[in-house]
């Protein structure tokens, strides 16, 4: 009744090509962003920031990057964890080794290095696709795992093999409290979110989608597969690399290569599948779902077990979590291959014609 486009007439092409063509949508998104910047810091407590909000914001950024490669360009990647690691360690070395390096600059340099590595490991995509490509990206994963564990130079020759940063600040403002960390990451997420949304609507995004839907047909209409695929690898690994830098610098503070293991790659891929492949919104849904689900399981399962008189141990919890994850992946692939984002758009469609659906 309230959510509809009746009466909103477009008088220019510019108005017709906006990201959100319906006024209500525009206000809702602006409201959401304002709430995220102003409302959340007022309402949330420290636990919420540390356990949910900061991981969510960073992983949503990483999932956005993976979604560009997997969802928009259709190139399966199991090496996202490696690109995160490259971003993190490149940012670390830049930050540590260059005197007076600004934090944001270091993170972006990490992204650039991640881009280079991403393009390098994206080269096989010109020759193989599908499962073979997945294996090729796994090579990136295992190679990076090894390199950051064994080559001491990357960790600044620290004896324990852990890298750590402290006293982060931006323009003289320290980034210490959870609220500051959250806001810092949120800025990145919003900026990259808007950029990515515009990128996938532009010519290059359409090229990616054409390659995904049918590469031969795309080549026939004049899209260069090499350019399209490698640009998807580049953009994706840049965003993933910056997210890796944020994850290491802001969320962890001190970290080991295990933080970016193959499990992280799978986790990011699951976010994209569950959230919705080929949807910017879907990356956010997927990240939120995967960050929140383990916490919900951890809270509710012991309680549910208590109801029927079964004590649930921590090991059992982990296993139950694995089972629920696996079952959900399969269930989504069967029932809703387009993920949570599709449910969202179906909901919006229903709301638009409510309460008179005919």
């Amino acid at each position: 009744m309230f959510y509809r486009e009746n009466g909103q007439f477009k008088t220019s092409y510019r108005a017709d090509q906006q990201i959100f063509t319906i006024t209500q949508d525009r206000w809702a998104v602006l409201g959401l962003i304002a709430f995220a910047f102003v409302g959340v810091p007022l309402l949330a407590d420290e636990y919420l920031f540390r356990a949910i909000l900061i991981p969510f914001v960073i992983l949503a950024l990483a999932a956005l990057g993976v979604n560009i490669l997997v969802g928009y360009c259709g190139q399966i990647s199991l090496g996202s964890g490696a690109f995160m690691a490259v971003g993190a360690y490149a940012a670390y070395n830049t930050y540590i080794r260059m005197e007076g390096m600004p934090l944001v600059m270091a993170l972006l340099v990490g992204g650039v290095f991640s881009t280079l590595v991403g393009i390098f490991f994206g080269v096989p995509s010109l020759r193989v696709k599908g499962l073979y490509l997945a294996v090729a990206t796994l090579a990136a994963q295992f190679f990076c795992d090894w390199a950051f564990l064994r080559i001491k130079w990357f960790t600044n020759n620290s004896a324990s093999g852990t890298a750590s940063v402290s006293d982060l600040s931006i323009l003289g403002l320290p980034i210490e409290s959870p609220v500051q960390k959250y806001l810092f990451c949120l800025c990145f997420l919003v900026i990259f979110g808007v950029l990515a949304k515009n990128l996938v609507r532009s010519a290059i995004g359409r090229e990616w989608m054409a390659i995904r839907d049918m590469d031969v047909a795309a080549a026939v209409i004049g899209i260069r597969p090499m350019y399209a695929k490698l640009s998807a690898f580049a953009v994706s690994s840049f965003i993933v690399g910056v997210a890796g830098g944020l994850w290491a610098f802001i969320h962890l503070g001190s970290w080991e290569p295990a933080a970016f293991s193959v499990d992280r790659s799978f986790q990011l891929l699951f976010m994209v599948i569950l959230g919705g492949m080929g949807s910017v919104m879907g990356s956010f849904f997927g990240a939120a779902f995967i960050v929140v689900l383990p916490i919900v399981i951890n809270q509710t399962l012991p309680w549910a077990g208590g109801l029927v008189g079964v004590a649930v141990s921590t090991a059992a919890l982990t296993h139950a979590e694995q089972m629920i994850f696996g079952a959900l992946i399969v269930w989504f692939l069967i029932v809703e291959p387009h993920g949570l984002a599709k449910l969202w758009s179906v909901g919006k469609q229903k709301l638009r014609i409510w309460p008179f659906p005919h």
Binding site: A139, D215, F270
Partner: protein, 309 residues
């Protein structure tokens, strides 16, 4: 020279075990076009079932004979794998017929997580032993030619023998029985096979069951060597380059690919590792497979892929 040969043998034996896991990949890919990421989870699941049944059977039935208890446990584990195969077909694959390979790959990732969780909740998550009476003592061969001879584990030899017998049986099954012929028909073309009356769903159950048995054998051999524990499930990641190298559709490819990877890993670790800091065997296999992929995408023995990328 003696040391080199010893490393070589060690690599061959490790490669044999990779081959066993890779075999499971190839079987399922041949018959259903699914790249089964869950093979490692199936190995873990089967090995856990076997280990725990071998423990429980004497408690339940009072059978004291170890060999008999092991036999019953093995039969029960086979039964469990049949149930798993049936469930996977009925609950997952049936609903994903005609989907893209990538979707199916991700579905098997889901199955991996589910099986890992299920196996450990049902059978427990400690380290278990499988004792099927494999000879443990090492033997020395060729001690006339080299000083001290070459050390070989009898266990490895038995494992290699078992693997060889298994491959022989499987190729007989594929080539000579009518079910095997039906399997190959399904692998060639789902629709054509269906149109001449081959029941697709039953064939898939059979394939996953056979892959389950291969997983069980692999699990028993790995398990009796290293103990049954969660890390067994990551063996799938070690076996992936093997199938890429050997070709996704070739049984001999899985065997020879496994041997090449096994030998390559060991030799590179021993002779190349010290120069770059060690631990390179994990990615060496992948880089080997990756290099191969660029030159020959179908692998050593795979069918030629006619596909423009």
């Amino acid at each position: 020279m003696g040391f080199f040969l010893e490393t070589l043998f060690g690599g061959l034996m490790a490669g044999m075990l990779y081959s066993l896991v890779a075999l499971g990949f190839v079987l399922i890919f041949k018959a259903s076009g699914v790249f089964n990421f869950a093979q490692g989870a199936m190995v873990l699941f089967a090995a856990l079932a076997m280990a725990r049944f071998a423990e429980w059977v004497p408690q339940w039935t009072g059978v004291n004979n170890v060999a008999l208890a092991n036999l019953i446990a093995f039969a029960l584990a086979v039964l469990v794998m049949l149930v798993v195969a049936w469930c996977i077909e009925n609950l997952v694959l049936r609903h994903l017929v005609n989907q893209e390979g990538a979707t199916l790959l991700m579905a098997t990732l889901g199955i991996t997580y589910f099986l890992d969780g299920l196996g450990q909740s049902v059978f427990g998550s400690d380290i278990y032993k499988i004792d099927v009476g494999m000879p443990k003592e090492p033997i020395f061969v060729l001690d006339k030619m080299f000083e001290g001879g070459i050390l070989i584990n009898k266990e490895d030899l038995v494992a290699a023998l078992v693997a060889a017998v298994l491959v022989g049986l499987l190729s007989l099954f594929f080539q000579k029985t009518s079910t095997g012929r039906a399997l190959r028909a399904v692998a060639d073309d789902h629709q054509a096979a269906q149109s001449i009356g081959i029941p697709l769903s039953r064939i898939w159950v059979i394939v996953w069951f056979v892959a389950g048995i291969v997983a069980l054998v692999a699990g028993v051999i790995w398990g009796s060597k290293l103990g049954v524990q969660f890390s067994l499930s990551t063996v799938a990641l070690r076996a992936l380059p093997v199938v890429i190298l050997g070709g996704l559709t070739s049984v001999p490819g899985a065997i020879i690919g496994g041997l090449i990877i096994g030998v390559g890993e060991k030799l590179s670790e021993v002779f190349l590792g010290p120069f770059v800091g060690g631990g390179i065997e994990i990615w060496f296999a992948y880089v080997l497979a990756l290099g191969f992929l660029l030159v020959r995408p179908q692998g050593l023995f795979g069918e030629k892929i006619i596909d423009r990328v």
